[in-house]
């Protein structure tokens, strides 16, 4: 019951100080045209003097305006997602929105928890890279009134908008490149198989094999890593090498960090000589070109991806669901060039 110490200056206090009513202060803030210039300056003075800061929570409750957007990516530390996030953030800033971020680590339960948190928070929308392939929860969320844009996954025919890069094409490009150099035994390092983009890239890889008249099951060997980062890939390839006693001829990794993990695993075992093992990554992160062995990779328009997603989210209310698909691009560097074996 101790009063005063609660501290926060409210609109009422400002009103009293300026000798006007609550409503007038509110009008000064939200509809300046409705209020006399003199009173306005008097109110502004009081605001300044008292250090009043509008309580956005109360404001949101009454007015229903939303100024925040949530995003969930698989792991913010992955440069691909970092760039995408920055793209979202930049576009939102133009509309004075702020972004709440979360990493699901590919865990559907974590994703679900954050979605609920965001929804309760009353976000104006959600940009999400789905952890699983089931987007039912997202459709429900959208049905309850929170706009959803799905990122990095295309959902033809869905009621949700999506922005993605053609992963089948990306996988095809990578394999096409390796096959063109004569490699016919290729290890594919993936994370959890239920991730959509992994499956699409694999599909693209298989298509490339078939178009060369090869049996994908004989060409491709999938190696599953525990995590989607360099440590996971290093461990997976390390185990493969240690157990089989042989060194892979060519490796296609699901992202550049994993490709780097592959390079590291081989280098640590002194198996990584120029031209011995071809490595192709994915994402073409900034640093791909600066590596000990510069990395061949698949480039995606990351910043644009995020910005576009934010743009769709903020677009004036529910239009038709929109499916945007960007095209990836192969960037060849040293890591995949060399004397092909077999």
């Amino acid at each position: 019951m101790v009063s005063g110490q609660r501290g926060t200056v409210g609109i009422g206090e400002v009103a009293r100080a300026a000798g006007v009513s609550n409503g007038t202060v509110s009008n000064v803030l939200n509809h300046p045209s409705r209020v006399n210039a003199d009173t306005a300056t008097r109110v502004h003075e009081a605001i300044q003097r008292l250090g009043y800061v509008r309580n956005g929570i109360a404001s949101q409750l009454r007015a229903g305006t939303r100024t925040t957007v949530g995003s969930i990516v698989l792991d913010i530390r992955n440069p691909f997602f970092t760039d995408v996030t920055r793209g979202i953030e930049d576009h939102l800033a133009t509309a004075d929105f702020t972004l709440m971020t979360a990493s699901s680590d590919g865990d559907v339960v974590r994703e679900q928890r954050f979605l609920r948190l965001f929804e309760e928070q009353g976000v104006g929308g959600v940009v999400v890279v789905p952890a699983g392939e089931d987007v039912q929860r997202l459709v429900e969320l959208a049905g309850r009134g929170t706009p959803v844009v799905v990122l990095d996954v295309s959902l033809p025919g869905s009621s949700l908008s999506s922005v993605s890069v053609d992963d089948v094409e990306g996988g095809r490009l990578a394999l096409e490149h390796l096959l063109a150099q004569g490699y016919e035994r290729i290890d594919v390092v993936t994370g959890a198989a239920e991730v959509r983009q992994t499956r699409d890239r694999l599909r693209g890889a298989r298509l490339a094999c078939e178009s060369h008249g090869l049996d994908p099951d004989r060409v491709l060997s999938v190696r599953t890593a525990r995590t989607l980062d360099s440590a996971g890939a290093e461990e997976a390839i390390g185990r493969l090498v240690d157990e089989s006693g042989t060194c892979p001829h060519a490796v296609f990794a699901m992202n550049d960090l994993m490709a780097i993990g592959v390079q590291r695993a081989l280098r640590r075992r002194e198996l990584y000589e120029p031209g011995r093992t071809a490595v192709v990554g994915y994402d073409d992160i900034d640093l791909a070109a600066e590596l000990l062995v510069p990395l061949t990779s698949i480039r995606q328009p990351t910043h644009a991806l995020g910005a576009r997603a934010a743009e769709i989210l903020l677009a004036p209310a529910s239009q038709e669901a929109e499916q945007v698909v960007f095209q990836p691009e192969l960037v060849v560097r040293e890591s995949s060039l060399g004397t092909a074996r077999r």
Copy 2:
């Protein structure tokens, strides 16, 4: 803006469906022990059936509970800040808090805008890497009741808590290493000079010179880049080389991305031969070891930095301000080893 579906289910509707009062539904959600088990299941059923989602905004307004924290870093794409952010996020998740992120790009105005946005949003606290050296606005913010933890800057004697790494020591370590190898002309590549950590590292660098009996002004040449990333450094060093026609003997860059920019600038001009130019970076990002020329760098405990900041923020209300200082560590790799000149 976003127009939600009209039909949001409220607590009242659930209450009616379950044949109880509003208060009881609220109790089921917030104080389950107070309510009879039978009624509880009946209410839960109704919640399930109607797809009720608690309106967190209204909840926050009445109860004053805060479940979100804001963070402002210089640039989320910089791996150092990405790791720190992830550290914050991970710690917050243990308390069911979510993180709102923003990048100030070192711009005080941008920072101020985000701070205001966060405050209005009613965040439970703010973790901020200050863009300028003036933390007055932050002190005021804290005074108005929003806990603030300052990151990557130490504020001895301030009323604000801070978590930082000893940047003077970091700068000293870097220079000590270069001087020990005989380099006596060292270019320092920085971003905007008003950034505190830049100044501290420079101070450490000067101290190292003095302790070797050298005049810092003769040893060190500061090169200011427009941006804190690899592009900025590449441009700055490129200009230096093109204009002076000479190649730097040793370079100390303010972060690893900039160090990579330096390497790139020299390599593009075919001036980057082993042992010719020593380069030391800062941050020891994951990839520093995987570069074309593995990078000597100063390592900082990034994840722990963020986690500790979040921990202080969530600590049971205003204790004494706390100043945590971590120590950096020199990691020597090839980029700084070679035949010293002069």
